[in-house]
Symmetry: C2
Subunit: 461 residues, 2 copies
Amino acid sequence: MTTTDRLREIVGADFIRTDEAARAAYGQDALKRGHPPDVVVLPANTAEVAAIAKFCDDTRTPLVPRGGGTGYTGGAVPVRGGVVLSLERLNRILEIDELNLLAVVEPNVITGDLQDAVERVGLFYPPDPASLRQSVIGGNVAECAGGPRAFKYGVTKQYVLGLEAVLPTGEIVKTGGKVVKNVVGYDLTHLLVGSEGTLAIITQVILRLVPKPPVQATLRAIFPSVKHAVDAVTRLIRARVVPATLEIIDGDSLDAVAQYLNVRSLAPARTAALLLIEVDGLSEQVSGEATRVEESCRDAGAMTLLRAANDAERQELWRVRREISLALKTIKPLKFNHDVVVPKGRVPELFALVDTLRDRFGLRIPCFGHVGDGNIHVNIMAADDATEIARAHEAERVLFEGVVALEGSISGEHGIGFAKAKYLGIELTPETIALMKRVKAAFDPHGILNPGKIFPDEVAQ
Amino acid sequence: MTTTDRLREIVGADFIRTDEAARAAYGQDALKRGHPPDVVVLPANTAEVAAIAKFCDDTRTPLVPRGGGTGYTGGAVPVRGGVVLSLERLNRILEIDELNLLAVVEPNVITGDLQDAVERVGLFYPPDPASLRQSVIGGNVAECAGGPRAFKYGVTKQYVLGLEAVLPTGEIVKTGGKVVKNVVGYDLTHLLVGSEGTLAIITQVILRLVPKPPVQATLRAIFPSVKHAVDAVTRLIRARVVPATLEIIDGDSLDAVAQYLNVRSLAPARTAALLLIEVDGLSEQVSGEATRVEESCRDAGAMTLLRAANDAERQELWRVRREISLALKTIKPLKFNHDVVVPKGRVPELFALVDTLRDRFGLRIPCFGHVGDGNIHVNIMAADDATEIARAHEAERVLFEGVVALEGSISGEHGIGFAKAKYLGIELTPETIALMKRVKAAFDPHGILNPGKIFPDEVAQ
C-alpha cells in the first residue's frame, strides 16, 4: 500500500492533497524556503493524528506537523519530502473557564481569535506575536512565541498548563493539566513548548488566562541615540515600573517607514531611537506609572514625548511599529530577520555591534524590537544576488558570535528550524547538543518527526 | 581504591563523612524515613561535583544530591546506600544584577537569605515555601517549590532563567542564560526544574527578579463553611482581583492551633473556614483592591472580617497560619502531609471528599493551603501503630484517586520522591511514565543518580 493510500484510509479521500499547488503551498512558511512534501494530510482528530504518526514511524516516512505556517525559520516545512500533517481541522476553542481562569483549545485556533474570545468575558491571553492574526496556538506553543507584551507578561511558556500530544511512535500522551501547580514526574509540558514540532504533535492545549487589564496608557519618546533610549529604560526599571510593552525602533527602521508611508513626520529629524511604551492595569495605577514613564524619558534626554489621549491616538502611535515589516520590504527584496536577545543592560553594546556590521559589510540593517527583554529584531537587508547574500550570511555569523559574547542568545522568539541549525554550536556546547539529541531520541527513536531541524549534523545529512 | 579513598582524593579528607552520626543525619529529610548513605561528600565547586559524578557513574555507585534536606517525600535521601553529595559548600550569592533584574546563585543559598538580599535593593524573589528559612534555592529548583504567593507570582519554575548542572556521567552543561527569552534548542532548564535530583546535579542558578511591591494589605475573613469561603474566592476572581496570597484554613486546623496556643479567640466558634488574603502592589492600587476583597467576602457571607492596620496586626493575622505545623504535631505523632491540587473551582468537592475520608477511616484530617491555586495541604494524622498507619495509607490512596477524578494532581509542591512513587500510576498513564523513563535514561544511562525515586518499579527493585 502506498503512503497516500494508507493516509486516505485514515482520514478519507477529501483530506489528502497531492497536487502540485498544495505541495508548493505546504512546502514553505514565512521564510520562503523549503521543500515540497510528497503528500499533505489533514486529520480530523487526535486519533487520526496518532494513526498517521504510527504509520509514518513504521514506514520511516518523514512527518512534519504544521500549524499556521507563519514561522521564520522553516520549522513547519519539510526538508526531505514525506508527509506534511496540517492541523487546520483541529481549530476549535473547546472551553473558556472563567472561574478557573483557563482555556482548552485545539492547536489550530488562531491566536488573535482566542484573545478576542477571552477578552469578551474580561479575561486576557497576553502572548502577542506579530503574526497573531494568522498564527495559531499550536504553532505558538511549538515555537514558544513571544511578542511585545512579554516584558510584563512573559512568553507563551508562561501560559501553557497542559498538553495533549501524539508521540512520533503513535502514543497519545497528556502532560500537565488544569491546575497551575503540578510536580508529578518530569515537566514534559514545558519540554514540548519550544521544541519546534520535533518531539511530538500537539493536539490540545490548556492555557492559563489572567484578568484583562482594564486601562492602558501609551507613550512615545524620541531620543538622539540608542544609548539615551536605553538609559530611559534603565531609569524606568530603577523606578520599579513594569510596562506591558517597551518597544524600540532605530533610526534606520523609522526612515524606512517614513519613506514607505510618505509621512516624514513619523521619523523626525535626528531621531536615532524611538521608544513605544505601554503601561496597563487598574486605572488607579496606570496614571501614576505613566507619569513615572514620562519622567524617566525626560530625565534620559528625550527630544519629544507624546502620550495618547484616546484610542485613536494610541493606534496612531502604534502605526510606525506595525508598518515596519512592510516598509522594510521596499528597501531590498531579501530580509534576513534575526531575533537575537541580550541581557537588557547590554542592548547598547548590541546596537554598537550592529553599527560595526553596517560599516564592515556595507548593508542596511534596520533594528527594532522588545528592548525590555533585550530581544531585538536585527534585519539584514540584501539584494537577491549571490555576493550580497554571501555578505549577509557572513554578517549574521558575526552577529551571532557577538550576541553570545554579550551573554545573549541567537534566538529569543523564532527558534532554530533549519535556517539557523548551522549556528547552534555558537551558543550551545557539544555536550549540551549531545544531551538534546538523546532527549530527541527518547521521543522519536527513528527520527521521523520533523527531521533536519534544530541540530546541525541533521542538516548536513 | 575504595569509594571513600577516591572521594577523598577529589575533595580532600576534611570533606568526607563516614561516621554514623553523619550518615544518619544525611540519611533523612523532613519525611523522617530513609536509609543512610555509605559516605557523605561535600564538594567545593562544580569541577569536584563533576569528578564525583564521573566516578560514581564509572563504578555504578548510587549518587544522591542534597540541598537543605527539608523535603517531604524523601527526594534527598538514599534508598540504596551509596554517596550523598551535599551541596552545602556551594552557598554564595554570586551576583545581584539590579539593571537586568536577575541573580546568579550557588545552589545552597538559603531561600530566605536571597529574599532578604534582593529586598534590600528594592527587588523581590517571590517563591516562598514554608521552609524558606531552612530550604535552599537548589532544592527549591529541584522540587519546583511553591508557596502562598504562587497565586499571583507563580512557582519557582517561573523564576529560573538558566542553570549550570552536572550530568550523572560527569559532563557540565549550561542551560538557558541571563536572558528572559531563549528558544535555542530544547528547554532543558525547565525539564531540570522539578526533576527531583534525578536528571542532573544543579551547581548554579540564574534567577529572574521582579520589583518589590511597595505596599501590602492583609485581610482575614471567617466563614461558616468551606463552600462560603470558596464562594468568596470566586467572587474575588470575578471582580478581577489578583491577590498575592489566598490561604484557606479549615476548622479542624484552627481548633488545633487554638488548643496548642491556648488562645480560643484564634478559632471563633462555628468557624468552618478562614481565609487569609493579601493584596500587594502600588499604594494607588492596593487600597482599592483591599476594598474589593472585603466586598467579595461580605457578599459571600463572611461572619467576621479584619484588615490589618499595621505590620504588628499583619503578623498577628499570619500567626495562625504559621503555627499550624507545630499545632498539628500535638494531635497525633504521625502526619501524612499531602499537597494535592485541583482546579480552584473544585475545591469544595475536594473538601467534601476529605469529609468522607474522615467518616470512613475515623481519622482527623486537618486541611489548609493555597486555595487560589486549588493546592490544599491534606494532613492525615495517625497514631504510631500499625493499624492506624494502614488506615492512613488507605485514606491517602482514596484521596489521590479522588483528586485525579476532580481533574487534579496528587502533588502540587512536594514532588514524588520515594514516598509517593507507588501512586504515580494513579495520575500518569503507562505511556507517559514510559516516556519519562526514556528521558531519565537520556540523562542517566546507568541509573546512578538518585535511584529509587519518582518511578514505581524503581521502588520495587
